[in-house]
Amino acid sequence: MLTSKYITERGGTMNNNERWLIEESRKGNVDAFEELIKDYKRSAYNIALRVMRNVEDAEDASQEALIKIFKNISSFNMDSTFKVWMYRIVVNTCIDFKRRKSINAVSIDETIDLGSGREIQREISDESNNPDALIERNYSTQLVNDAINMLEDDFKTIIILRDIKGFTYDEISEILACNLGTVKSRLSRGRKRLKELLEKEMKANS
């Protein structure tokens, strides 16, 4: 039941419509490109959101990635599926974007120092009491989101790709440009770490 979701449409044969859209995009046809990424741009945005953790940066990073895809579409050589190729760019761009950003990033937990000993606490809207966000499961959505946010980038991306986006191990190894063994061990450790984080949070909450 679980595995059934993971059997993706990676049959190797790209459908003709997609192929045509790629050809048109190569000629610089913006409309064709938009049609091509219609189903993916939301995914791209969500990956960026998970990595960046704020709406503005997520939009900037995901759009940067999509433009990069558009500009470089002529270098896509149909070896892999378009989906895999494009997620690779999205993941890399987001991580790169975050790295650039983190030079002058501030943590939300930090207090803002106004000098002369006065400090104020950041005000962050707290949505954890929003009833819609709670789903009756063992772990609440908010809790899981928080835990994912706390994960290291390597673990975070692999869990996003595998458990949220449902890529196969092979596809993940292509997207992250690493071998299958790395994917397996990193995913195992990532899930373990996520579970630990969740358990810790649950304990803290109760």
Binding site: L2, G28, V30, E59, L66, N138, I159, S188, K195
Partner: protein
């Protein structure tokens, strides 16, 4: 197996990524260990929560902003950008840049006309000096003078023919593109012709008489080496013995740099009694550049073949390509040899000199043309030449001044404008 090891494999177990053996081990363990069963349940639970995580919708206007950025980055938009720049060009700017462009074109054309003009002047001047120096039949010289002007149209006419020759292989789209571009732009065409060096092979055949063969030959070889030429062959024989004096006959082939060809001819005419003279200028520019282009084409072909060769997989293919490569190489080499031959012959002119030693015939000549007379004539000639060339220079400058002066002014103005613009930008 211990629980720890099993725990590490649970993640892969869920994804069905374990080997058959490991799978059995895990299943066996799970049946007996409740703790690990719980762990597995927790994992499955976590994963199903992750799968069920709702996706956030992109903020409002996300697609619009993306569309705008895409348009900015589309290669198609670049042309439209260029078009809008053209539109923004106001009339004043058009006037300014247009006038600069026109001025440059005019200067260029004027320079060309002057070049041709001075060439004609030079030719005429030379003709006259020949007529003065030796009262030979003028018909022979007239042959060479009108030859010069047709040289230019000839090279121009060579262009389209060449274009056809260059485009003979449909594969070389880039070359064809270049040609169509050239033929579209007349200024470009003019520059390419200007860029071409004219290949003219000059040959002269002179028969002459002298009284003192040995002295003349010594002087001649000194003159030739001062002109940085050389004696290619020297065939001397005694043809008559008269009163215990040997009369010599020589057939000499002289090679001198093209620039000093006429100087040497003049020198010969002044020092020996010329009986027959034939000067030939052959324009091989067209032939030369046709060959040159063929070489370029073949080199492209060779490169293609080399690329093909790298892609070749079977021995048969390799052999075929290698054969073809060898053929192309041979052709290139043959053409290159004939090109360098033309280069050599154009750079160094040839004079075939037949010279005969005589006893009496020139005695009268010697009395008539004393050293004083000859040097006086030479002096007058030189002064005349200086005056004439100075006149030509003045005429050239004055005649082109209506174009030259405004052009220079516009150029300077444009230059200052541009410099000001750059300074502002910085």
């Amino acid at each position: 197996m211990k629980c720890n090891e099993i725990c590490d494999k649970l993640s892969l177990y869920i994804d069905n990524e374990l080997s058959h053996e490991e799978m059995q081990q895990v299943e066996e363990h799970l049946q007996s260990c409740e703790k690990c069963q719980k762990e597995l349940e927790e994992y499955k639970n976590l994963i199903s929560v992750l799968q069920g995580l709702p996706e956030e919708e992109p903020p409002e206007g996300y697609c619009k902003r993306l569309h705008k950025k895409l348009l900015e980055n589309s290669p198609q938009s670049k042309s439209s950008k260029a078009a809008s720049i053209f539109k923004n060009f106001n009339r004043y700017k058009w006037l300014k840049y247009g006038s600069i462009a026109a001025a440059l074109a005019v200067v260029f054309i004027a320079a060309n006309i002057n070049n041709f003009g001075s060439m004609n002047y030079g030719m005429k001047a030379k003709n006259e000096s020949y007529d003065m120096a030796t009262a030979e039949s003028p018909a022979e010289y007239n042959g060479s003078a009108p030859q010069a002007p047709p040289v230019a149209p000839q090279t121009e006419a060579a262009m389209p023919e060449e274009a056809a020759g260059m485009g003979y292989d449909g594969d070389y789209k880039d070359i064809r593109g270049e040609i169509s571009y050239r033929s579209n732009d007349s200024i470009m065409l003019a520059t390419t012709i200007e860029d071409r060096e004219m290949k003219i092979i000059m040959t002269g055949t002179i028969s002459a008489e002298t009284e003192d063969y040995d002295t003349f030959l010594n002087e001649l070889s000194m003159k030739i080496s001062s002109l940085s030429g050389f004696l290619e062959s020297n065939n001397t024989e005694v043809y008559q013995v008269y009163n215990d004096e040997k009369l010599m006959y020589g057939s000499i082939r002289i090679r001198v740099p093209q620039e000093s060809f006429y100087e040497l001819v003049e020198y010969l005419e002044n020092n020996i009694e010329v009986r027959r003279k034939n000067i030939n200028e052959t324009d091989v520019t067209k032939d030369y550049y046709e060959k040159d282009n063929k070489v370029k084409n073949l080199e492209i072909q060779e490169q293609h073949l080399r690329e093909l060769f790298e892609k070749a997989t079977t021995v048969e293919e390799m052999l075929l390509i290698e054969n073809e490569l060898r053929r192309v190489r041979t052709e290139i080499d043959a053409l290159n040899i004939s090109l360098s031959d033309i280069d050599d012959r154009a750079a160094m002119s040839t004079i075939n000199l037949e010279i005969q030693e005589v006893m009496t015939a020139s005695l009268t000549l010697k009395t008539r043309d004393s050293v004083w007379d000859r040097s006086r004539d030479g002096f007058i000639n030189t002064v005349n030449g200086i005056i004439r060339s100075f006149e030509n220079l003045v005429v050239n400058i004055v005649s082109s001044s209506p174009i030259l002066i405004p052009a220079i002014i516009i150029c300077i103005a444009g230059f200052l404008k541009i410099r000001k613009y750059w300074k502002k930008k910085i």
